[in-house]
Amino acid sequence: MTAESKAKKQRAALIAAAVLFIVSAVWCGYLLFRQSGRQVEIISDGRVLYTLDLDREADREITVEYEGRKNVIAIEDHDIFMKEAECPDHTCIKTGRLGSAGVPIVCLPNKLMIRFKAGTDSAENGGVDAAA
C-alpha cells in the first residue's frame, strides 16, 4: 500500500465518521425539539386518558364519562375546549379554549381536567407557568 493511498483511506474514514456524527447530532436535535409542540393532557380522576399534540390534531370530539356523566371535549383549528358537560355549573365550558392564560380547563363535578403537559414551554402557555 502506498503512502498516498493510505492517506486517502484515512481521510475517507474521518469524513465518514464526521458525517455520521453530524447526522446523529441533527437527528438528536430533531428528537429533542419536535416535542415542544402544544402537548395537552386529558386527565380523568387523576388518570391521564389522552396525551395530544394540538399542532398535529385534526378537528374531532372526544367523549369522556365519569360515573355515568358525560363531557364532550372538542378540538377545532388546533385548539381544545369543553363543548358539552353534564354538570351543574358549566364552569368548564365557560373557561373557553385552553391556552390563553396557563389555566387548565377543569370540570370539578366530573373530576376532569384538560391542561398543557408539564414542561410545555411557557411561551406556548400564554407566557405563564401557572395562574392564581
Binding site: E41, P88, A101, G102, K111, M113, A118, V128, D129, A131
Partner: protein
C-alpha cells in the same frame, strides 16, 4: 493502526450521542401517573407530574429535578393523608369528629397545629377570617352546588352558633359546643402546599410547581434559572390581569368569580362576611396574598377580600410577612410596594396603584 483507533473513537462518540437521545425519545410517553413512566422520565430530565383530586379541587404537583419520583409520590401520599384528616364530610376525619361532638375530641398533631394557626389568624384579622362559618356556607348551598338565597331568619339562627372564639384548643384536644361546626377549608390547601414544598426540598428538588386548584406554590426557580411566571386571574375572566415573577413563594387568590350564582340580577359569591353571614361586598373583587408560607397566604387571601381596601391596607402595614394584590370593584389594581419589581400589568385595568408602608 492509529487510523482505525481514531475512527472507532469518533464512531463510538456518534453512537453514544445516538443512545443519549434515544432516552428522550422513550420519555415522550406521558411521564405521569405511575412509576413505570416516571422511571423513564428520570433518565432524560423530564419533569415528573401527577394530578390528584383532593379537597374538592385538582392538585397538580410537578417536580423538575432531584429525587423527583420519590418527591412526587410522597407528596401525593401526604395530600391524601391531610385530606383524610380535614375533610368535613368524611366520617373518619378529625374535623367531622369535632363537628359532631360537644365533648373534647383528641385530634392528630397536624390538625391541632393547623387549628392553632387558624384560630390565631381569626383573631389577628379581627374575625375577617372565621373557621366556624361552615353551617352558613352550607345554607347558601356553596358546599353542595345547590345555591339559594337563604331566609334571613335561618341565617340569624345559624349565626348564633358561629364565632371562632367558641372553639377551645388545648394541646391536641379540640372542644366545640353542640351546633358549632368548624372547617379548615380556608387554610387547608395552603398548609398542604407547605407540606408538599417541604417534601420537595427534603428530596433535593430545587425546582417544582404546585398548582393546588389555583393556589400556586413554587419551589426554587425554573430549571433554566429564571423565576416562575404566575398569571393573576382576571375577576372578569378575560385571562390574566397581570403577571408575577416568583421564587420559593406562595401566590394565593380569593375571587368572587370562583364560585357564585345569580338571582334576580344580584350576584352572590362564596366568600362570606363572617359579621353578616352573607357574601362579602366590601369593594374588593379579587385579593391575592403573596408570601413564603402557603397557610398564611391562604388564610389572608380570604381575609383581605372580606376586609375591603382600607382595612386590608392597614392590616398589611401592621405586618411584615406578606405582600398583596387587590382588585377593587371600581377597576383599580393595588399592589404593595414589595411587589413593584416582580409585577407586570397585563393591561386589562388601566390603573395600578402602589401601596406604600409609610403613607
Amino acid at each position: 493502526m492509529r487510523v482505525s483507533i481514531s475512527y472507532l473513537a469518533i464512531a463510538a462518540l456518534a453512537v453514544s450521542v445516538f443512545t443519549g437521545c434515544g432516552n428522550s425519545e422513550t420519555a415522550k410517553a406521558p411521564a405521569i401517573s405511575g412509576s413505570e413512566s416516571s422511571a423513564q422520565a428520570v433518565s432524560s430530565n423530564e419533569p415528573v407530574s401527577e394530578s390528584v383530586f383532593a379537597m374538592d379541587i385538582y392538585m397538580t404537583i410537578t417536580a423538575y429535578d432531584g429525587e423527583i419520583i420519590r418527591a412526587v409520590s410522597e407528596s401525593i401520599d401526604k395530600i391524601k393523608q391531610l385530606e383524610a384528616l380535614w375533610n368535613v364530610n368524611d366520617e373518619g376525619s378529625d374535623i367531622y369528629k369535632i363537628n359532631n361532638s360537644s365533648e373534647p375530641v383528641s385530634v392528630d398533631e397536624q390538625t391541632a397545629e393547623l387549628m392553632s394557626f387558624s384560630l390565631g389568624m381569626c383573631e389577628s384579622t379581627n374575625g375577617a377570617l372565621d373557621i366556624t362559618l361552615y353551617p352558613v356556607l352550607r345554607e347558601w348551598g356553596f358546599t353542595t352546588g345547590e345555591y339559594k338565597v337563604p331566609d334571613e331568619d335561618i341565617i340569624s339562627e345559624l349565626m348564633k352558633n358561629t364565632g371562632y372564639e367558641k372553639v377551645v384548643l388545648d394541646g391536641n384536644t379540640v372542644t366545640t359546643p353542640a351546633g358549632v361546626m368548624t372547617d379548615l377549608g380556608s387554610v387547608g390547601k395552603g398548609r398542604t402546599g407547605d407540606c408538599v414544598a417541604e417534601i420537595m426540598r427534603g428530596c433535593g428538588v430545587t425546582s417544582a410547581l404546585l398548582d393546588l386548584g389555583g393556589n400556586i406554590q413554587v419551589v426554587g426557580r425554573k430549571t433554566d434559572g429564571s423565576k416562575w411566571k404566575i398569571g393573576l386571574k382576571d375577576p372578569y375572566v378575560r385571562g390574566n390581569f397581570g403577571i408575577l415573577e416568583a421564587e420559593d413563594t406562595a401566590v394565593i387568590t380569593s375571587g368572587g368569580y370562583e364560585r357564585y350564582f345569580e338571582q334576580d340580577g344580584e350576584v352572590y359569591w362564596h366568600i362570606l362576611d363572617p359579621a353578616a353571614g352573607s357574601p362579602a361586598k366590601n369593594g374588593i373583587i379579587s385579593a391575592t396574598a403573596v408570601g413564603s408560607e402557603g397557610r398564611l397566604c391562604d388564610a389572608l387571601s380570604t381575609s383581605l377580600f372580606v376586609m375591603g381596601e382600607e382595612r386590608a391596607k392597614k392590616y398589611w402595614r401592621s405586618r411584615g410577612d406578606f405582600e398583596m394584590i387587590l382588585v377593587t370593584d371600581d377597576d383599580r389594581v393595588l399592589i404593595t410596594e414589595g411587589l413593584e419589581d416582580s409585577y407586570t400589568s397585563g393591561g386589562l385595568f388601566s390603573e395600578t396603584e402602589v401601596i406604600r408602608r409609610d403613607s
